[in-house]
Amino acid sequence: MSTILLKGGHLVDPASGVDALADLVLRDGRVEEIAEPGKAKATADETLNLKGLIVAPGFVDLHVHLREPGQTHKESIASGTAAAAAGGFTSVCAMPNTRPINDSPAVTRWMQDEERGALVNVFPIAAATLGSLGEKLSDYRGLKRAGAVALSDDGRPILDDHIMREALALAAKVGLPVIQHAEDTKISHGNPMNEGVTSFKLGLRGQPASSEWQMVERDIRLASQEGGRIHVAHVSTARSLDMVRLGRSSSVNVTAEVTPHHFLFTEEACSNYDTRYKMNPPLRSAADREAMIAGLIDGTIDAIATDHAPHALFEKEVEFDKAAFGITGLEVALAAAITALYQAKKISLTRLVQLLSTNPAKIVGVTGRGTLAAGSVADVTIFDPKKRWTYDLEKTRSRSRNCPYGGMQFYGKVRATIVGGKVVFSEL
């Protein structure tokens, strides 16, 4: 394997407390050396000149739907990871709601097979219960051995207290986090948007905020009893964050992620029945959006995850209440975060990298990643935080275009993505 010198960039690696100009040498898929500018000892086959750019540990997306196996009309592992690479994600955690559901070591291994053509690391999140039916636990030990990094019935929340308790207990023994899509479907009824002023106006039935935060509250209570690790997927209401804070204050092992759309948009975006703004959890109130930003600033929220959820046009270009939930987001997550959080002077670049790399890598325990300390895996994201650009959906690498970000202007552009020492995306 070749040696690459990353020259003249500004290294931001919160895990090792670095925020300075530095040169990096990548050899054989590892970070070999970190040196002051111009002082690297090793000789390189290839030099990337990164003046004015940020060099960060590769981003880890805790929440993507790659749709393979089974729904390749929406996305494939190859196309989804190509989009990930363009968005600066060197690792993606793939949710198990595929066809079949990824509830077995066989599917977990199949997803990681080289033949899938993944451009970035794929870490499967396996189903917490067989078929995600919420009835019987899947084989946690076998799944972990096959490469699963977490357990979740994403989209099919585990409602039964007893099963959730069992899941947390067994996952704790095996050493995996349980990721819960917190939604009490007995309250939310699969309704297409947030319950509030906008839903009343539009004559659409709503999901009340309580259908989320009551589930977060319950999960944290069960985790405090069973001692497991609970990760709250795509948190969207202010009160859910209060529950997370409360849980942490009583030493429950709870973490939380937020999607860019939940800190960018509010329920009002649905005003014209635009299904590009239909996702689950739904866009919430302005107060909830503010709370997400506050949570990102104060550390209640650990990670930014995309919930990249590709759908074909025919699944979205229908009546609002019949349209599929979800949007794509891998290619713009960094730009959305930089624009709404960093450019808006809410968070620093160090915090941004924590949210996109350091913390998510820790949550799913992908060792050697989420940092660029010497010896770690050479997964690197290189970006220009000041670059202005417009997202052109026509050029997306995803197979789907169900995305509200098309045509929007952002600050912050990924310039290169390196996975295991290999450049998989470059606009240098």
Binding site: H189, E195, G196, V197, S199, F200, K201, L202, G203, L204, N272, Y273, F314, E317, V318, E319, F320, D321, K322
Partner: protein, 306 residues
């Protein structure tokens, strides 16, 4: 000046001038005196939901203007075989000049208007809007009152599920009336306050109805309740319009109902048949107003044919 109105998707996008133009034109319309305004035009009545009143009303209105109509019921069309709204709309677009549409999903006409290029007239979508009903309600009120400005119009009952209540509120608000909603929490959430300027919520029926100029009663849409619990006896006791309650309104108050009306539930027989009830008048006015709507949208001259 706004561009000529092309589709009627709801009341919210209209301004008061456009509303009054339609209402003024409606006064000259009469199904007993057919016109040729829309001769040679083809109008599809695309109904994804059952409706007697509205469909018949639109059909007579279209024919009274000389248009030919074709009624398409979702249950008998390729829609039942799984055709999408987009494809149904595109198919119709190539053979008709306009679509009058009733659909159980809120926003369906908005979607269709984005996908195809001929005028769409919303004949009721989900819980969202029923603009032609709101226009005929305003027309009916104006047959009895000089203006809507300053009137107290109270709507009682199942506001949450009612597209009529939503469209009425927008229209009455635009024409300067006080819009008072009255009903139990489950059928009238506080979020209704933000619907339009001037909307008020009064939970007590006596207080709501006191001094009202117009009393609009709504049916409890049992078929849409989906899990909500309504105690019928309790509902009747608190929200049924009886002669005694009607006495609290102004002497010259009128009683309206968009239909279908369930006697013994939202109002007693006495009230339904009393001299203050204008329910049947609403039906006739429906045809006139729908003639005015079609003439305005599809007629050649701006502002509707003379």
């Amino acid at each position: 000046m706004k561009a000529k109105l092309r589709s009627l998707l709801g009341i919210e996008p209209l301004d008061s001038r456009q509303i009054l133009e339609i209402l003024t034109l409606a006064r000259r319309m009469n199904p007993a005196r057919p016109r040729t305004t829309l001769r040679g035009r083809r109008i599809a009545l695309l109904f994804y939901e059952n409706s007697t009143r509205t469909r018949t009303s639109f059909e007579i209105a279209a024919k009274s203007l000389g248009a030919s109509t074709v009624v398409i019921h979702a249950t008998t069309a390729s829609i039942e075989k799984g055709e999408s709204l987009k494809d149904t709309g595109r198919t119709l677009q190539s053979i008709v000049d306009a679509i009058v549409m009733r659909h159980p999903s809120s926003g369906a006409p908005v979607l269709l208007s984005r996908l195809i290029d001929i005028p769409i007239i919303n004949a009721g979508d989900g819980m969202h809007a029923h603009p032609s009903q709101a226009l005929l309600d305003a027309f009916t009120i104006l047959n009895h009152k000089k203006t809507l400005k300053g009137l107290k119009i109270v709507t009682i009952g199942d506001i949450f599920h009612s597209r009529v209540a939503r469209s009425d509120a927008h229209l009455f608000s635009k024409l300067g009336a006080r819009v008072v909603f009255c009903g139990p929490d489950v059928l009238l959430p506080e979020s209704a306050l933000a619907l339009a300027p001037g909307v008020e919520i009064v939970r007590d029926m006596d207080e709501a109805i006191r001094g009202a100029d117009v009393v609009m009663m709504l049916r409890v849409q049992q078929e849409r309740l989906s899990g909500m619990q309504i105690n019928v006896d309790e509902y009747i006791r608190r929200y049924q319009l009886t002669p005694a309650k009607l006495k609290l309104a102004k002497k010259d108050a009128i009683v309206m109902h968009p239909g279908p009306m369930i006697r013994g539930m939202e109002m007693t027989d006495e009230v339904a048949d009393c001299g203050q009830s204008v329910v049947l008048e609403q039906v006739l006015n429906g045809v006139k107003v729908r003639m005015a709507i079609l003439a305005t949208l599809l007629g050649k001259k701006p502002g509707g044919a003379r």
